[in-house]
Symmetry: D2
Subunit: 215 residues, 4 copies
């Protein structure tokens, strides 16, 4: 049976002209992994609208799996986020000019949600494909974490059988040509996402191995 | 009126012969900030014992403020932790040889607790003293996060009027003489802790400024 | 008229099972840039043999341009080396077990040679192709610098009309799957080398722009 | 017999309000190591004047040892420079607004000079004092390298019995309070310089150990 997947990426923000998350998502949707029906969705980099757009798409598509992706400038590898926190604290304005400080994503919601993706199985599968990955324990406090938390809250409260989570991707090389920062080509990030989606669709439980961090 | 402070540091772990957190704590207790009555407590780097030791000390001392500190190897600055998560996932064994994977710190506890320290006021005060600091949004998944979460849970459930949180400190220079990693002398970390304690004792609410992270 | 290019890469060293420099060189030789006749040469990661192999190939092929490449683990971008120094100081043994300390590459040779590649034009061309690059001012003191210096000395003393230099490449992603270090896929490194070779073949002089380093 | 030492530091540059090199030099001159007669000299951060000031001081003082120091923002440790190159390539203007590109420090001079300090003995002594140090193989291409090269050329051509070299120091903590960059307190940098000066005054030859770099 086909697994229906909602896969989201963000529009560019912070002065960038591209966002590797959307570029990768488009590639995955164009050439999805076998057995997966992948629907791509572009999210605005905007606190207040992003979750409305996501919620509408989940309601419309009825996916089995929801994976949201974003750009993590400076990270060298693909990082499934294990946790999202109930906090907006924006160091820069979002694309609408809005810059919330110390606001809850969901007023009265729990302090955090853990991803319902099998993050360690996902990381192991990406590595087995020869691509770099690790589990992250912070998605920041900007729109990415906002969407990661909002998605987790939506699934926990309204779609308890749907699994989902957030994945951060490195800069694309074209973004760092003169910056001496790590990057990963969009084709490689897309391939990592394909492998991740297959692993997430296949595994009901996660691997019993440590991918923890000392600090 | 004097504020009674319980200030903890860890014993060395991971092959190190010192832990800058305990070295700094000893200095602060020997020369505390004005108006603060600081009690130093050494915590074992052990998942199962550390929280017993902490709980006993809180019960015995009746502090107004509890600040636990630990070593964050590789970080260049003093980092008050804004959040602690209900997850033990040990990349290395603790000092008793125990290495939990994907275990809750407190079975059935909330996914996370936010610090009840005014972390932004603390960071601002440390910077004003000429020392480097930033807010962190992950304390890892080892014994430091275990204690950070356990402390938050203890205060939330049994001592709701007591404020507390966790602070990570850089390596001491003597730990990285040949490693090309960032460090901060223990005297500087101790001074940062003094300033932090004074700020935490003084401020009932935090500063309305962003110290967020993009990712 | 066709430019004849000798392009070298290294065998794996330091416990790695691949060396991205040789992988990239093989790709460039298989699909060279237009107008270039590219001859690939594998160099052993060995102080004493590497330069013999290089010297023999230069004598045999009579190239117009010689570009040697190597792996720079940890660098995020493609880095033409501007300078090579007359110093072997090996932190680890080479692949023959030899570990020279404070030895000259060429006894009595000059302290350093500057690359005769137009390094800034090369960097600009790679960036224009959407790939990350910067000028480096140290090739280290291991076999890479040994070959960089030995090549420069050979060309300066015996082939003054032949231009040449050394280029460092990042790890391949498959080398860092679980290491959280920067990488660049071999296909991208190969494309950067193609662009570099074309730029080096075309430009007699370098661009008058700064690519300097503060420290 | 007392060793006469000329020890230089730089004025602030690049928008900084302090330069840890001059701050450290002042401290060393105020409290020099036993047996050393230390003369502090402030150098302007200016390509064309810096070497005039240095040359005049060397002629006037007749030192046995000359150590020039500068700020290396981003480095975590004290780094004696092993080599200086005959190249000015300024990424930013110096304090007079001058920004040379691809100019020789000394027209017609050798491509590089190696330090005549026993850099490995210096590093070993600093580490033995509990402070972080490593040998560097690039001093950049800005005013620091300019002075490092100019000093080496001056000693080689006019004062062949005088030993000297350049040492880079990390940012001071007060420079990076909000930047998450490595730092070292000026008192620690000063102590490292004292130890370095004593080691340099004592050792005629360097230690036969590797402090090389792979790349």
């Amino acid at each position: 049976m086909t697994t229906r997947v909602l896969l989201t990426g963000f529009e560019p923000f912070g002065g960038e002209s591209v966002n590797p998350s959307w570029q990768a998502v488009e590639r995955v949707a164009a050439t999805p992994p076998p057995g997966l029906d992948v629907h791509a969705l572009l999210l605005p980099c905007a606190f207040d609208v992003s979750l409305d757009v996501l919620r509408e798409a989940v309601a419309r598509l009825g996916p089995d799996l929801v994976v949201c992706t974003g750009q993590a400038g400076g990270r060298p590898d693909v990082t499934p986020e294990r946790v999202a926190i109930n906090l907006d604290d924006a160091r820069i304005p979002d694309n609408t000019g809005f810059q919330p400080v110390d606001r809850e994503v969901v007023p009265g919601g729990p302090a955090a949600y853990f991803s319902t993706l099998p993050v360690k199985a996902c990381v192991a599968a990406i590595r087995a494909a020869g691509l770099p990955a690790s589990v992250s324990h912070t998605a920041g406090t900007f729109v990415c974490n906002h969407v990661a938390y909002g998605l987790a809250h939506l699934l926990a409260t309204e779609y308890p059988t749907v699994r989902g989570g957030f994945v951060h991707l490195p800069y694309a090389p074209e973004q760092v040509t003169a910056r001496q920062q790590p990057s990963l080509p969009v084709a490689a990030s897309a391939e990592a996402l394909r492998v991740l989606l297959s692993a997430a669709a296949a595994a009901a439980t996660d691997l019993p191995v440590s991918e923890g961090a000392i600090s």
